[in-house]
Subunit: 218 residues, 2 copies
Amino acid sequence: MKTQSATRKSFRREGEDKRREDLIAATLQCVAERGLAGATVREIALRADVTPGLIRYYFPAKDDLIGAAYRAVMSRMTVQASDALKNADTDPRARLSAFVTANLGAPIMDPHNLSLWAGFIGLVHADPAMAAAHRDGYLGFRDELEALIRDALFSAGKPADGSVTRRHAIAVNAIIDGLWLEGCLAGDIFADGELAETGIAAIEAVLGISLSTKGGAK
Amino acid sequence: MKTQSATRKSFRREGEDKRREDLIAATLQCVAERGLAGATVREIALRADVTPGLIRYYFPAKDDLIGAAYRAVMSRMTVQASDALKNADTDPRARLSAFVTANLGAPIMDPHNLSLWAGFIGLVHADPAMAAAHRDGYLGFRDELEALIRDALFSAGKPADGSVTRRHAIAVNAIIDGLWLEGCLAGDIFADGELAETGIAAIEAVLGISLSTKGGAK
DNA sequence: GCTCTAATTATGCAAGCGTATAAATACTGG
DNA sequence: CCAGTATTTATACGCTTGCATAATTAGAGC
């Protein structure tokens, strides 16, 4: 029950990190549920169980919070994909396969993530700082992918010099992005795992190698 | 020079179609330049050289204008791609190739288009009417693509039953979308025509056929 | 347990938003 | 050239937004 009728909201002092995280989480929740336009200072504060003023205590302006939220999403997706590699095989081809599968399944391939991403992309064009943040994330992803491809090609005894891996990375990146997009936008019209399978088959065709570890189990 | 200091704005009566087009064009301009948030009723009216009230004369609510603008972008891109087919060869493989090239070059692969598209996609998740509009456009595109693929496979003497063309359409669509995305986001880091070439090479690999009209070998 | 300060709430404001509605005007048909 | 009407402008209202600032309080250090 509420303490009193006309009383001040009671509160606890939280660590700076904790508060920032909470505010970012609340922001993401808003954006996911009601779009970027739904992420108002007041609504965010409500979800973080905090008064609006506090937001400005931690973020100079609303845009800074939005930017932080964007970076959080991108980094979260990147980390999730990389995590899938940590627990994966050591075989390079299996690793590439695992990476693709991770990116084309939950929780990365999620309409909420697309909403967030798209909302921010709309801002990228107007805000240079945001644009830089975006490009960094994008190139980081492609570099990681290119390394995986190089290893996979090498492991299959295929030539893998720079010019060929670059182009392959572009193509494979496109396949992943495109399928991710399709899955996020209309996941319900695809069977479970269909997009991941399709992606791996397409990538195998493009690279001209098999990604299955047929020597081993199953 | 302005007519008078405290005078009414003079105006001309335009046809309904012309006005709607102008308003949509002004909306797209706003969204492209300053994001969806920049597309306010007043700003749109300003660009269309019209007073804000007129917008509501042609569109019951602002959202209707936004929706119309979204449909206009999608249809414009679709039409541009289809136009490329009109002037193209009759050879099915050349037609598929032309379709891909058109989608991965100007004016379709343009940062403005991405800005527009992304801004709207953010709404799709929240607004059911927008979601329907989007799905229609998406499926239309994929159907057109699937038909092209079927013809190309057939012309190359490859089996092309429904289940195989469906999956191929998904993959090829992903390649086009993904490369379109990459090009829009960072077109400057790619050589001219590089993305189109990459796309065609990838699609050839996925379909297992050549798309060049030359006698055969590369 | 007191004190001090940083964290948090409360209050308010100016600007901008979408929308409603009434007044004015350019064109159309006679 | 006149009347009628569809189109356009003008004005205003209520709401929400981001942001500023003053008042409060929780918790750390002594």
